[in-house]
Subunit: 370 residues, 2 copies
């Protein structure tokens, strides 16, 4: 027996033609530790967009009902060789109701319950999910629980990682995002100093309204001195950047080094001994990351992804993090959406061009049953 | 009582005027663990050049006997604010004879001996050095022992660091340098695979003549596929780059990821799980480091400096490394020089423009007594 429902797929042909479409699919019966979830809501996160569209030319795509065809420019098409010809489902996370379960006790216990889940194909009317990764939502609605994994665990992951590394302060850029606001709340709760970097005055105002102590505007003329001031006051030599391309990381390293050097009693040709650490966890800007030789050799830059971090943190820490998210899903870890769309509406021009712009605070929620 | 001798100083004025000059200096009597070394030979390393000239415009400098005046362009002049107005000695390392010593037993034991030392002001007729950092050279000449610290300990440091991190293969760029040739010999002795990146065919030929198994030419059209081939064969996901600016690190990460992805059975939007690690340990190219978003998030790039590495490695490891260098100073750890210059000749136009070009295999040796 199988269940039939609509699902979204993205396919990149070797010639660079990207086809994204809604199609009827058959979902197999769940087995073992699997559950079948009737999906009610799924957020469109930046990490989903990387797979859904990548850097394809959506502005000049051909749109038809339930379908979109666009061109993937070079060098990105060659760079995505690994997915050529594969019809890939999309959607990291979402929430819905468990309608069937495999034989395991954990899976059976979830039947009939509303859960948040991480199926990897959440832009769909049904999804097969791992029971161990499902969070029972209780009275929380699917809309409120749809973003219970990616953003909450990422924001909490930053704080956990900082604590593991003995840090008491964090820099965060693109800080007015849903994730940034969450991080602001977590840091306030945990007594971690947070230096928020935004690029608009209204975003600065928003964060200050939410109690943020340190907010600097990267578009302002005094960005670097203000960033230095915040680092000087907080000792934030450790930060997370979702932009990736451009000079955000470079500016952070520069400011950290400037503060560290100002505290040195004598000149050192190699710069300060202050370790400086930045992580890139997203690619809102697909341009190259630019690092200038202006902060010595005492710095480390890494990519950061949630899954390897959770594997490194271990089961006990992850369980503690998940409980904290669930207990505070409509407060600390609440997400906000600009608009709800069906699977078909996801592929209409106005929606697609709007959500793929990934503007701060303008997240979309997919409701596959309308 | 003091000793008088000639010494080289570099001074950067706040207006960007860089003055480098030879001057008579008085050296105080050594105390405690210090020794006074009559310097006979000191190499001009890239790390010395960063302080000696930095990115100053030497081509258009004014040259007079024992003196050079050049302009430091922006943004480098502002970036070097920490040294403005300070008259700084130069020269990390060198060799000579201990002519006086402080009261400590270790210092007294060195009197009359030829030693390699790391005074930080080696471009000088005399230097005050720390006895604990002196290597007694025995029958080895000062010329042969002059480069016993920076390059040998750095090359050996790479191999030690790789072993600490569980690596069995290393990538090295600008690999035909004195340091690169040393690393080639160390890796052969220790059974570590070494992927050498050079930018000229003659450098590739040189290294192959020295028994290097993997040499790739970054100027060749097939650079990236050849680099992939070498990584595939060696599992070198770990490398050291002295160039810094440009795309060398980027090319290494790209090739590492391409090899890792080719071994994956299914597409992952986030790239491979293969950790990729690169270190920048020099700035032969002062331009920005360019990192493109084409190797997922499983990468880490750090600055690498010898002193913090030695501090981290601990006294026992450092002692073992120093013994190995001393035992093999004219073989594994031998350096070669293009030309010998006096302190005054260092500041003549033909010499200064030649050694500051830091061409591979064209290192200069300063002999302060002519």
């Amino acid at each position: 027996m199988t269940t039939t429902g609509k699902q979204l797929f993205t396919t990149l042909a070797p010639d660079g033609t990207l086809k994204v479409e809604v199609a009827e699919t058959q979902f197999p019966d769940p087995t073992g530790n699997q559950v079948l979830v009737k999906m009610e809501a799924a957020p469109i996160n930046p990490s989903d967009l990387a797979l859904l569209f990548g850097p394809a030319d959506i502005d000049n795509a051909q749109f038809s009902p339930g379908k979109l065809v666009a061109n993937m420019p070079e060098p990105f098409n060659s760079g995505a060789k690994g997915r050529h010809g594969q019809r890939l489902p999309v959607g990291n996370e979402g929430a819905g109701t468990v309608v069937a379960a495999g034989g395991s006790e954990a899976a059976q216990a979830l039947v009939g319950q509303r859960v948040a889940c991480v199926p990897g194909h959440a832009f769909s009317q049904y999804a097969i999910a791992d029971a161990a990764m499902c969070l029972p939502l209780g009275d929380t609605s699917a809309r409120d629980g749809a973003s219970a994994f990616v953003n909450p665990m990422t924001a909490l992951g930053f704080v956990e990682n900082a604590k593991m590394d003995g840090q008491k302060a964090i820099i965060h850029s693109a800080a007015a995002s849903n994730l940034g606001q969450m991080l602001n709340r977590i840091c306030q709760e945990d007594g971690i100093e947070l230096v928020n970097i935004v690029r608009k005055q209204e975003q600065a105002d928003l964060l200050k309204g939410l109690g943020a102590k340190w907010v600097v505007n990267s578009s302002a003329d005094d960005f670097l001195p203000k960033l230095c001031e915040a680092i000087d006051a907080t000792d934030a030599y450790y930060g997370f950047d979702p932009i990736g391309g451009g000079t955000t990381v470079d500016a952070c390293f520069k400011a950290m080094e400037r503060v560290a050097v100002s505290k040195m009693s004598e000149y050192n040709r190699y710069g300060s001994n202050q370790p400086k650490r930045m992580f890139i966890y997203g690619r809102l800007d697909l341009g190259p990351t630019i690092l200038t030789p202006s902060y010595g050799f005492g710095w480390t830059l890494s990519g950061w992804l949630l899954t390897p971090f959770l594997a490194q943190a271990g089961a006990e820490t992850v369980a503690r993090m998940r409980k904290r998210v669930l207990d505070n899903i409509t407060t600390t870890f609440a997400s906000h959406y600009k608009r709800e769309v069906t699977l078909e509406q996801m592929l209409e021009k106005d929606a697609a061009t709007d959500y793929r712009a990934m503007k701060t605070g303008e997240k979309y929620l997919v409701t596959p049953w309308g």
